[in-house]
């Protein structure tokens, strides 16, 4: 059953058609990628799906229910967890407080008893603290429990933001460039983490991502946007070799460049950057250059360490 079904989404900003007739579908336990060049409308699509923008036309259905016009906080309560491109957290608060803020909608006491400090409030607070601590442990961030979020490194922030999204107890997770600002190592590591999370929490995910290796490794299905329209969709390898996708990324009228890259010029490969792939062409891990492969192995070790 599809968890999220987007039909013919369109939205204009002034003269700019930011999205036009975009449809996509995310099934249970799937990780779906949303890629496309700068300004293609990916984040706009996220904002329409999560209720931050009202689309001009089209519909968003969540588990069969029409939620097109529900405001963001209502959608968050339904089970839409999301992260932001530039880290969405309360920077002046500590990691623990952020994780508790994220549990707002799931708190077991009402606002009135919260104002007076009576009833279930303290019990509810203890439960929220416990859950927050569990998430910190899971992500290996226990050491920053009481540190202000603002002072942390970007990679840590991105990871903690993911934790906050988890703390909202999501059914579907929408991640907007989860690796932005991360180095290649951290990015690879995050990819592994996402797979672990999906496995352990049974999550469904929609991910905007530029870091191609990550998309290739974690996504089951990829949608490509360009100029606000859906350009292509399919499995990662299909999309990768889709001529229109290549054109969108590498420039519409650059047949020379394309032609050149299609011929397996030995000498060119030899002259290119030091980490040009070796000849063996089959599975994706093997096609990674040496340096990368070593990193991936380290990432997998990490993953085992985590799940143990």
């Amino acid at each position: 059953m599809s968890v999220l079904e987007v039909r013919d989404l369109s939205i204009r900003f002034g003269g700019l058609q930011a999205l036009q007739d975009v449809s996509l579908e995310v099934n249970e336990f799937e990780v779906v990628g949303l890629i496309g060049p700068n300004g293609a409308g990916k984040t706009t699509a996220f904002n329409c799906i999560t209720g931050f923008y009202k689309p001009d036309s089209g519909s968003v259905r969540y588990r069969g229910q029409d939620v097109t016009s529900a405001p963001p906080h209502v959608k968050a309560r339904m089970g839409f967890g999301r992260t932001f491109q530039n880290v969405g957290m309360v920077k002046s608060a500590t990691a623990l407080e952020n994780l508790k803020t994220a549990q707002h909608a799931k708190a077991s006491y009402d606002v009135a008893s919260g104002l007076l400090g009576v009833g279930r409030m303290w019990q509810g607070e203890r439960e929220m603290t416990a859950k927050a601590e569990a998430i910190l442990d899971l992500l290996g961030l226990a050491h920053i429990r009481d540190k202000r979020v603002g002072g942390q490194s970007y990679g840590t922030l991105k990871l903690l933001e993911l934790g906050c999204a988890l703390a909202t107890d999501p059914d579907i997770l929408l991640l907007d460039e989860p690796t932005s600002g991360m180095g290649p190592d951290e990015s690879d590591e995050l990819g592994e983490r996402l797979l672990v999370l999906r496995r352990e929490f049974g999550l469904t995910m929609l991910v905007i991502e530029h870091h191609v290796p990550l998309v290739l490794r974690v996504c089951d299905h990829v949608y490509v946007l360009n100029f606000g329209r859906l350009l292509a969709q399919g499995t990662p390898p299909e999309v990768q070799s889709h001529p229109e996708v290549i054109a969108a990324y590498l420039g519409g009228e650059a047949p020379d460049a394309l032609a050149a890259t299609e011929e397996p010029a030995q000498d060119a490969a030899a002259q290119a950057a030091p980490h040009q792939p070796e000849a063996d062409a089959v599975p994706e891990a093997a096609s990674l250059p040496k340096r990368r492969r070593a990193r991936t192995a380290a990432g997998q070790r990490d993953e085992k360490g985590q799940s143990a």
């Binding site: 290739l216 990768q240 050149a260 950057a273 792939p277 096609s287």
Partner: protein, 239 residues
């Protein structure tokens, strides 16, 4: 000696580091193109060169003169001009006023008229619309205006950020051709681009990834390799 030499340049926004220490040089009279995905640090690089971002470490040398840590004013006076990302023209001023302000830092007031003619020569569209408010121009025209404004300071090195973003492929080609003409007229050019269509005009190509430089070589060579494809679409697409 190269016109521009950058060594181990590091910078970022607030506490967030972006450039992890990049080094490259650009020769006088050439066109260099910087490729890379979103968030690779391309815009950060040119913004830092233009003095909009503080230099955290490393050095920028322009014609032998150290420019790191200088104000945007000193940098533009030294002969480095940037046409910034997103055009950033003054929407409430006329095209002519936009261009005239571009010449703010010039000492030779007499030469401004000649440069203006030169800009109108490159972009006849701007001449036609010189009394129109810049905010009413189309995206492509604003891009031309931003480039024209940078030329008005008579730079020795012109940097253009995302020259083709949001332009149709055809318009992008037009812009590239004009830029090549500007280069032929003696101005050294650095273009930040995602569009490979610019490659035929590039003497030098640089590829950035996650705040580091992963490729620095001739444009012609890059055309023959799969390096760009790998950057944009991953390993499988490159092989």
């Amino acid at each position: 000696m190269s016109l521009l030499e950058i060594q181990e340049l590091r910078t970022g926004y607030g506490a967030l580091p972006v450039l992890q220490g990049i080094s490259f040089a650009v020769e006088e009279g050439t066109t260099a193109v910087v490729f890379g995905l979103n968030g690779a640090g391309k815009t950060t690089t040119v913004n830092c060169l233009a003095g909009l971002l503080p230099v955290w470490g490393g050095e920028i040398r322009f014609d032998g003169q150290v420019l790191s840590g200088k104000s945007p004013k000193a940098i533009v006076e030294a002969g480095l001009a940037l046409a910034p990302e997103g055009r950033r023209v003054w929407p409430g001023l006329s095209v002519l006023k936009n261009l005239e302000l571009g010449a703010w830092s010039r000492k030779d007031r007499g030469g401004v008229g000649a440069t203006l003619e030169q800009v109108f020569g490159y972009f006849p569209r701007l001449d036609e619309r010189k009394d129109q408010l810049a905010g009413t121009l189309s995206g492509g025209e604003q891009q031309m205006l931003a480039i024209g404004r940078a030329i008005m300071s008579r730079p020795r090195l012109l940097m253009i950020d995302e020259a083709s973003l949001g332009l149709s492929p055809k318009l992008a080609q037009t812009v590239f051709e004009v830029v090549s003409q500007i280069n032929d007229d003696g101005t050294t050019v650095i273009i930040v681009e995602q569009n490979v269509g610019v490659l035929p005009y590039a003497d030098q190509a640089l590829i950035m990834e996650k705040g580091t430089l992963t490729y620095d070589g001739s444009g012609a060579e890059l055309e023959r390799t799969g390096e760009l494809r790998r950057t944009y679409l991953g390993e499988a697409a490159a092989s």
